[in-house]
Symmetry: C2
Subunit: 124 residues, 2 copies
């Protein structure tokens, strides 16, 4: 854990929203932390492997976002189409559906992704 990596981790801790590599880069530069964008990519990769960070690939965004794992269970997200705010949905309604799909398709289901989009209270 170098101080560069700690700076990234600390930023993830104080950021309530899932954040992209470029946003990490720009935010740290604003805080006068010198870090290369490549190092940001490599750092989030390491933090993912350590199980400290989750990568989110939200639909239609075309970039990856990262959030602290912090013992979070499997969960999903909803994103506001106007302001981009992302909120955790601490539920998963797909256990029964998974069984049904396995019966219908003869696949063995391993995983799923689920994401909602809409308008947050402020943007309505």
């Amino acid at each position: 854990m170098t101080r560069t990596r700690q700076a990234v981790l600390a930023l993830l801790q104080r950021t309530r929203q899932p954040i992209s590599a470029t946003e990490i880069f720009e935010q740290l530069h604003q805080e006068k932390v010198a870090i290369d964008l490549v190092t940001v990519y490599r750092t989030v990769h390491v933090l993912k492997e350590l199980g400290l960070v989750l990568q989110l690939d939200l639909h239609q965004e075309g970039l990856a976002r990262y959030e602290l794992k912090e013992g979070r269970e499997h969960h999903h997200h909803i994103r506001c189409q106007i302001c981009g705010q992302i909120e955790d949905l601490l539920l998963c309604p797909l256990k029964k559906v998974t069984k049904l799909i396995e019966q219908r398709t003869q696949f063995i289901v391993d995983d799923h992704t689920l994401e909602f989009t809409g308008l947050c209270p402020q943007c309505q």
Copy 2:
């Protein structure tokens, strides 16, 4: 409807799987249809606007796939992690969940994406 566009549409009709722009390009070239990759991108864009084609952005693929709409209702997909086969799931289990999420989050839910991954019968 030029013959270039008809060639793309005809390929989508005879292809059972959602297919990417590069795959359309390569397949048509194998069939001796001269077409530029840029034209493929522009053509699927037009076909989408005409409501003939659906664009799929499957998780972890990093590219767009296209399938004929053909009066298909809103539906979801399951993809085999080994061979890449994609199958339609002609169901949507999220109507009730959507209401619950609107209550919990105060968002107005507009849309969602749902996708399963696993092993197809042949790859198990």
